[in-house]
Amino acid sequence: MTALRFYGERPPGINGEELPGRLIVIEGTDGVGRTTHVTLLTEWLEARGYAVVNTGLRRSTLAGREIERAKRGNTLDHMTLNLFYATDFWDRMERQILPALRAGMVALVDRYIFSLMSRAVVRGMPRDWLENLFGFALVPDLVVYLDIDVPHLIPRVLASTGFDYWESGRDYLPGQDVFSSFVEYQSNLLAEFRRLAREHDFVTVDARGSIHEVFRQLCASIEPVLALMARG
């Protein structure tokens, strides 16, 4: 059973004490391999008879589209963008995550409030304001943090999408040197992720290894959470 516990006050309209499903969150910076592992884990869980729901940032009916649009146009200030992400997050909480947990499924979530908070803190938003805002989030059964360092991250990012505007912090860092911005931004971001990992007791997995090694560790950390859970 997943206990219905929230980081802050329980939001209105949410009833009950326990849920038969499991909430498992994969956190980590962009390029660390989160999405790959979410895909692999979904197959692994389904092969073992669990029903799985995936969700990730910006996939809400309510606000997903507007965030994409706003990011393209770079028209939103940090505060508004955070509130948009919070709206998107809460909408997915209500429409995707909670119903899945009520139905006894595994909700496998690609990034949770911690990505949102890290990115905002690095951009100068106060932690206590963010902690209050995201207090509406359900406390997951497990948060796995895929940890990496900047030297290992660089080749992965270069091999896939390259240095993205937002993931290089170019929306707030001065100067035109994309590589320096990327290094500075990711260093700060990783420091904040690690701080959160300590504070909230995430299971940290060293993501510098091969996909196979990381996946094996992920499965090992998820296994105990699934114990006693009914399969489909």
Binding site: G13, D77, M79, E94, M125, P126, F136
Partner: protein, 255 residues
């Protein structure tokens, strides 16, 4: 970027003035604010206006959420906070920093009242909106529920879903729901008046009486506020102020 700061940390003493109006639907607050704006403009001040739920960036989301009834109490609250944050950083704060007069039709107190009625935690709301610059003066237009409902229903064939609080299941039809919802909001305002020192105006008085009281209270705050440039570069305005019209061939002057 807008930094959430303690309410009194944002504005310097010597910068802009922020006057806001609050009240339930049908309290007449928008009419009074409009009259105040006209007076200030006539006195030569530069006046910036901002209205609840009007940010162009957030509008598409709010509209779809309302049309499709997608909004739960929390998402309703969050999307309105996004609207307010966007207007604060793009309009309200820069104008205040520049030293202008800003008029706001509804402010954070609207969220405190409405969202609390929808069950949102009051302390959470106050922290959420802690980035809002504190108003120089906040007027609460106090009107009996029956009078407000009468005014609203007189001119309206239909009350909208969220406006009537239909999402709360307060009544069988939108009229019954609207009345109960406005009653609950009014009760929340009664808490907010002492908590935030809102200035209570009796909204059953004549329009002229209310406006006079507003102006008397606003007047002492105007010393040194930013003045509007003479003409805004538009010859029609100058001519208008002089009391006669431009001849036909000058009417297409580019603004």
């Amino acid at each position: 970027m807008v930094e959430p700061k303690p309410a009194n940390g944002v504005l310097k003493q010597d910068s802009g003035r922020l006057f806001i109006v609050e009240g339930i639907d049908g309290s007449g607050k928008s009419t009074q604010l409009d009259l105040l704006r006209k007076w200030l403009v006539n006195l030569g001040y530069l006046v910036v206006f901002s209205e609840w739920n009007s940010s162009p960036i957030v509008r598409a989301t709010t509209r779809r959420g309302k049309r499709e009834h997608l909004l739960s109490p929390m998402s309703f609250s969050l999307i309105h906070a996004a609207d307010f944050a966007s207007r604060t950083s793009a309009t309200i704060l820069p104008a205040l920093r520049a030293g202008a007069i800003v008029l706001a039709d509804r402010y954070v107190y609207t969220a405190y009242a409405r969202d609390a009625v929808r069950g949102v935690n009051r302390a959470w709301l106050r922290k959420l909106y802690s980035f809002a610059p504190p108003p120089s003066l906040a007027f609460y237009f106090d009107v009996p529920l029956e009078e407000a409902v009468r005014r609203i229903l007189a001119g309206r064939p239909r009350i909208k879903y969220y406006e009537a609080g239909m999402d709360l299941g307060l009544g069988a039809d939108s009229y019954e729901s609207f009345q109960r919802f406005q009653g609950l909001i009014r009760a929340e305002y009664e808490r907010l008046v002492p908590e935030f020192g809102l200035i209570r105006l009796d909204a059953t008085q004549t329009l002229v009486d209310q406006q006079q009281q507003m102006r008397e209270l606003v007047r002492p705050h105007l010393e040194g506020a930013m003045r509007a440039p003479d003409t805004n570069g538009d010859p029609r305005r100058v001519v208008g102020q002089m009391g006669h019209q431009l001849s036909e061939r000058h009417v297409d002057v580019p603004r």
